[in-house]
Structures are given as C-alpha cells and as structure tokens.
C-alpha cells in the first residue's frame, strides 16, 4: 500500500479539519497530496510528540475534528500517549499511524514494527483505545477513514505502507516557525479567536 495514495484518499475527505504531522517523507507527500489542507496542517519535525500535540489541540477545540498523522517511529517514541487517550477518550481525535516499519528519513533502518511481533493497533486497544485497526490495502484504509472520521471515540488506523517515497513531488520550503504562523493564523481565522495577539504597544 502506498502512503501517498492513502493520503490522497484521506485528503479528499477533509475540508475544515486540523492536522498535525510528524517528520520525514510524509511531510512533502502530505504537502502535495492534500494541498487544500496546507494552512490547516501543522508540519512538526518531531518524534514522540505528534499525537500528544494533536490531543492537546483536540482538548482545546472539542467541537472540531483533529487529525494526527503519526508514524511508527514517532508513536514508539512515546507509547504512553495511547494510555492517556484510553483514559481521556477524546471524541474528536482521529489518528493515522503511517507504519512503514523503518526510520525512512534517515535512510531506512528498521523500527520495532519490522519484527512482525509489535502490533501498534493491538497496543492501542490494550490501552483503552478500542477502535484501533490495521489497514493493509487502500480499500481497507479508506473504509476505516470514513468510519473513523465519523466516530465519537478516539480512533486509530495503523496504515501498513511501503517505504517508497512518492517520486517527483514538490518539496515544502517553510520551516517550523513559518509553519506555526501559517497554522495559528488559520486557527484564529476559522475559530474567531486570538492566539498570538499584538504587543501591548507597537
């Protein structure tokens, strides 16, 4: 299953949701697969923080659907977030874990899921996230996205993708600070709130 094709399927289902992503090849792929979601996506070059940050956003905006696009390496870095989700049961958080069984962005050393023994969806279920599934085909993935985006309990889809980067895609140029401003201004505009307001004096 190709991650880029999954992203296109997922992107087609999204409009006003907010997305937080992990590092690596998925950054440029998402940037191209779902260009309409650029302003509503926060590209975070982090391991172990993406689903936690998405959960914090979901807590702050409980009326809004939040999407976490995590990775096997990222989730393994902080599995405890699954236990917190199990206890807190956010109704508006949908998590995809792009599981290519490797640390792709540094050349492909395997992650723990490559052994075949480690099952991230099973870990999520055992942690109280009952709706946690593994998808191995594009059809499965799409069906799970449809159900997950309509769910009112935390929902995790582990997408078993190959490790092949989509060829020929445009590189994203912005850095983390620029990404934050783009995202924050989008949230401010769509929520009618002030997050990063003016100084007391100019």
């Amino acid at each position: 299953m190709k991650r880029y094709e999954c992203m296109i399927k997922l992107g087609e289902r999204l409009s006003d949701e907010l997305v937080i992503l992990s590092l690596g090849g998925s950054v440029d792929e998402w940037y191209n697969a779902a260009p309409h979601m650029r302003a509503g996506s926060l590209f975070q070059q982090q391991l172990g923080c993406v689903t936690g940050e998405a959960f914090g956003l979901a807590v702050g905006l409980p009326h809004r659907r939040i999407i976490s696009l995590d990775t096997d390496g990222g989730l393994l870095f902080n599995l405890g977030i699954l236990a917190t989700l199990g206890n807190e049961q956010p109704a508006n958080l949908f998590t995809v874990v792009w599981d290519n069984q490797m640390y792709q962005s540094i050349g492909g050393p395997k992650t723990h899921t490559a052994s075949g023994r480690v099952d991230l969806a099973a870990i999520a279920r055992a942690s109280g996230v009952e709706k946690a599934f593994t998808a191995t085909t594009l059809e499965e993935f799409d069906a799970l996205c449809e159900e997950g985006l309509a769910a009112t309990v935390p929902y995790v889809v582990v997408a078993k993708v190959d490790g092949i980067l989509q060829p020929g895609i445009k590189r994203k140029h912005s850095d983390g600070r620029e990404d934050k401003y783009i995202f924050v201004r989008h949230v401010e505009e769509t929520e009618g709130v002030v997050i990063m307001g003016p100084s007391e004096h100019n």
């Binding site: 940050e53 914090g56 949230v187």
Partner: protein, 166 residues
Amino acid sequence: MKATAVDAVIRGLKKAGVSIVCYLPDSLFKELYPALDADPELRTIQVTNEGEGAAICGGVFLSGKRAVLIMENSGLRASVEPLARMGLGAGIPVVMLMSYRGELGENNWWAIPHGITMEPILDALRVPYQIIRDEAAIEDAITDAFSWSYAAYYHSAIALGGSIVR
C-alpha cells in the same frame, strides 16, 4: 504543601487564563493535585511522562486555550526532547510549574540529582525561570511566566522551593 500555597497556585493559574492542567503526580505537590482535579473551572489531564505533557500543552497553545505543565523538577529531564523541538524549532511555548526537589534541605539521596540538574537543563534550553520561596510571590510569578511566554513564544518555568512545598 500548605493549603494557602495551593490556593495561591490556583489563583495564579486562573489569573493567567489557564483552563487546562497537565500533570504527572509527585509527592511534594500531593496536596495540589486533588485541588486541581476538584476545581470545576480546570480540566486536568494526567500524563504518562512529562514529555507527553509538554506535547499536549503545546497542542493546547495552538487551540487558543492556555495550559500549564505541573511536575516534579525531575520531569524536566523527561521533557527535554519535545521542549527543544517545539520551542526552539517552532516557537510553541510550554509554561512549567515545578516542585524543586533536591536543593539544600533535601534528605533523599535519589532526589539529589533533580536539584543538581534542574537549573543547568533550564539554562541549556535557554528557558527563563524563577525559584519561588515566598508564598506571597506565587501568584505574580505564574502570571509573569505566562506574560513572558506569550510574548516570547517560548517556554518559561517556575520552581517552588522547599519552604513552600516541604
């Protein structure tokens, strides 16, 4: 931790606009947690480690709500990676309230490292901090931390010393 200090913390948090508290429980703040849990104006989230707490607080910042990360100072070691990535890489702030374990007066060998490492780690991350030893200063310290972090878009920290928490 004295009840009056607990009250001062909660007043300071509310004054700073905090509505969400992430914490990993510790012994010095043990009176604070149930008071936070019981407060109807605060949403509390217990986390599995302080790095997770930092990430959640960063996400809350992005929503326009305000969060605080409450922990023993040992949690600073667990949260260095997300603090560095979010704060230095993206300018997403986390305000921390810590119990200062391991300073002079500490009588547990296992907590000595917390005292030795806290300030060097804060300095390494370039996180400004205040160590508060007077209960009367708690409220202002918290509001000042939030004022600074929401102007700098970077982390700040308040550590409550032994005279307040022991």
